[in-house]
């Protein structure tokens, strides 16, 4: 991890417009955003406000139409596909609403996937993956396939996969959206703990209760940032 307080994600003036043959659909306008190391940012906004697009841009799954995104010192708006893949692999951990685990392989193998692509040797891979599962409290599920474990456990396996490569930032898209409230709370306390240990988190959610776990709230509306405020902890 880099020093706390240092800017891990600097978004300056980005816009995104989807173009088809006949029309162009602007989705994001002039977004400026700085996220410091160790922050826990909740992003809220109604459907279609551009939250997902913003997450995809930060997650290096898409490129902005204008402006620049600097992640951990790398300007990702101008990198090649291969470089972007490398950034995703090293600096970003994704947590999805639907978990997105590979159904045919076991939990530990799911957690190993990012390590496979960063070329970590087999034994080391297994060790790191088991450690990650252990830190999420699902070590006993290591040899289970996703359909053999509960939703909450699946999301914990997914978080283990997200953190296994020690990323600079975790991007969570509605991480509790498919969970009951109890599992949801458990998952959020995991995020809370991760954040306390210094991991930067960016989380999209509809739920104000979930959003309140963050330290900062950003509201998007029609492709623009309309609110950026600190969250007071109760």
């Amino acid at each position: 991890m880099t020093d706390p307080g240092k800017c891990v994600l600097c978004i300056s003036d980005i816009s995104k417009t989807y173009r088809t043959e006949k029309l162009s659909v602007p989705v994001l306008y002039d977004i400026d955003l700085k996220v410091n190391n160790g922050e826990f940012v909740s992003i809220m906004g109604p459907s279609g406000c551009g939250k997902s697009t913003l997450m995809n841009l930060i997650g290096c799954l898409d490129r902005p139409s204008g402006g620049s995104i600097v992640l951990n010192g790398n300007d990702i708006s101008s990198l090649s596909d291969a470089k972007l893949a490398e950034i995703r692999n090293k600096y970003i951990g994704f947590v999805f609403q639907t978990f997105n685990l590979l159904p045919r392989v076991t939990a530990v193998e799911n957690v190993e996937i990012p390590l496979v692509y960063s070329g970590v040797e087999r034994k080391e891979r297994r060790k790191k993956a088991l450690e990650a599962l252990d830190s999420m409290g699902v070590l006993k599920r290591a040899d289970h396939k996703p359909n053999e474990i509960s939703g909450g456990e699946r999301q914990r396996v997914a978080i283990a996969r997200a953190i296994v490569n020690s990323p600079s930032i975790i991007l969570a898209d509605e991480p509790t959206g498919n969970l009951d409230s109890k599992s949801g709370k458990e998952v959020m306390s995991i995020f809370d703990n991760l954040n306390r240990s210094g991991v930067t988190i960016l989380m999209v959610t509809h739920d104000p209760g979930i959003a309140s776990y963050g330290s900062r709230l950003i509201k998007l509306f029609d492709g623009r940032v309309v609110e950026d405020s600190e969250i007071k902890k109760q």
Binding site: A85, R88, R104, I113
Partner: protein, 398 residues
């Protein structure tokens, strides 16, 4: 991502869909196995033909003259312009020729007492027949020059003819009727078996002079000529041409050496082998289409997986190799299994039809490279499809 990881991943994914992978592999297995079996049969047939021709015992110094300009000219046999006098002239004027034996052939009913049998090949030949063909007798004698010149009605019977007409009796000295004419049996050929499709025991030899009367023909269908030495064959051919060209055009007769004969037979069998092998190769193409099809299905099915892999850091090349290796593994193991089954099948078939087992190395090599090529060729396009999936779309895919 290293290659061992990729291969293991491919194998796992193949095993995850056992039945589907097995059926896909089957296409390659059948293709490779049938190519190997058919090519091996073809090669064995070639050896068989050569062995048969050699067992017939015609020396390499023997050439044959037939009517017509080439072997395809079948109709020329019916109205051959070759005459007995040509054979005699060749014997007189060609110093390199040691033996000259003209042949007239026909077919017809042979009677002994109340029994009758239609002999497939009735040959009118000269007394030196046995010097050209290695056809021994088990009883009696062959006819002499005197009997040929004297148009004597004597005959030598093949084993099959003896069996049909005489059963276990000794035919030598008995009288038979050939096309209604009385002939005396003076000898019996030893059993020779089939040469290619031709039953060498279903024959009957009579003096050529008698045959001309019997079949009412003057057309000679073959003159076999033995040179004094193999080395003299080209010289002898020139001498023969000098004689025949005075009377006949080059379209009226053809000369075949033993070498030419062997080449021709080899060419025919070789052509058949390639044609059958080619047909078998079509099944390989079908197998390859099968792999491509399944790989395309697999890419669609695993769209989400591809999205996840990309999100956690898979590069395009990683996705590409993942799918390509999967298809190569399927076709490689298909090919391997095909070779095993192909060899086993060849062995079985050779055992049943009693031919010598031939392992055709080039066919094996070809089969292996073809199956590897198929794996790559049919994997590239689906793998490209996987590579070009948009990760955002892929993650959203349900």
């Amino acid at each position: 991502m290293n290659i061992i990881d990729s291969v293991l991943m491919a194998v796992r994914s193949i095993f995850a869909n056992r039945l589907r992978s097995a059926l896909t592999m089957l296409g390659v297995v059948i293709g490779i196995a049938s190519v190997i079996i058919l090519v091996a049969i073809g090669e064995a047939a070639k050896l068989y033909v050569v062995a048969q021709v050699k067992s017939w015992g015609i020396g390499p110094n023997v050439i044959q003259i037939n009517p017509g300009k080439d072997q395809t000219d079948i109709s020329a046999y019916a109205n051959s312009k070759l005459r007995l006098s040509d054979a005699i002239e060749i014997r007189e004027k060609c110093p390199s020729a040691m033996e000259v034996m003209p042949i007239i052939a026909g077919t017809g009913k042979v009677k002994y007492g109340k029994r009758d049998y239609t002999v497939r090949q009735i040959w009118g030949v000269t007394e030196n027949y046995q010097k050209i063909f290695n056809h021994k007798l088990t009883g009696g004698r062959f006819f002499t020059k005197g009997e040929v010149d004297g148009r004597r009605k004597v005959c030598v019977l093949g084993k099959r003819v003896v069996k049909e007409l005489f059963g276990n009796l000794d035919p030598v000295g008995e009288k038979v009727k050939i096309l209604g004419k009385k002939f005396v049996v003076i000898g019996v050929f030893e059993e020779k078996g089939k040469m290619l499709t031709f039953d060498m025991d279903d024959v009957l030899a009579i003096p050529i002079t008698s045959a001309m009367g019997l079949f009412d023909t003057k057309g000679i269908i073959e003159i076999d000529i033995a040179a004094r030495d193999v080395e003299l064959v080209p010289k002898m051919i020139n001498e023969i041409r000098a004689v025949l060209d005075k009377k006949l055009s080059r379209d009226d007769y053809q000369i075949t050496t033993q070498e030419g004969m062997m080449n021709m037979l080899n060419n025919i069998v070789g052509l058949l082998t390639s044609v059958i092998g080619g047909i078998a190769a079509i099944s390989l193409v079908v197998g390859s289409i099968g792999i491509m099809n399944i790989m395309l299905v697999s890419v669609t099915e695993r769209t989400k997986e591809i999205g996840i892999r990309k999100a956690v850091g898979a590069k395009k090349i990683d996705i590409f190799t993942q799918f390509l290796i999967e298809s190569v593994v399927i076709s490689f193991f298909g090919g391997l299994l095909g070779i095993v089954i192909g060899l086993a099948g060849t062995f079985l078939i050779m055992y049943v039809i009693k031919l010598e087992m031939v392992v055709v190395v080039w066919a094996l090599t070809l089969a292996v490279s073809v199956s590897a090529f198929i794996g790559i060729a049919s994997g590239v396009y689906p793998a490209m499809r996987a590579v070009n999936l948009d990760p955002i779309e892929a993650l959203r895919y349900e």
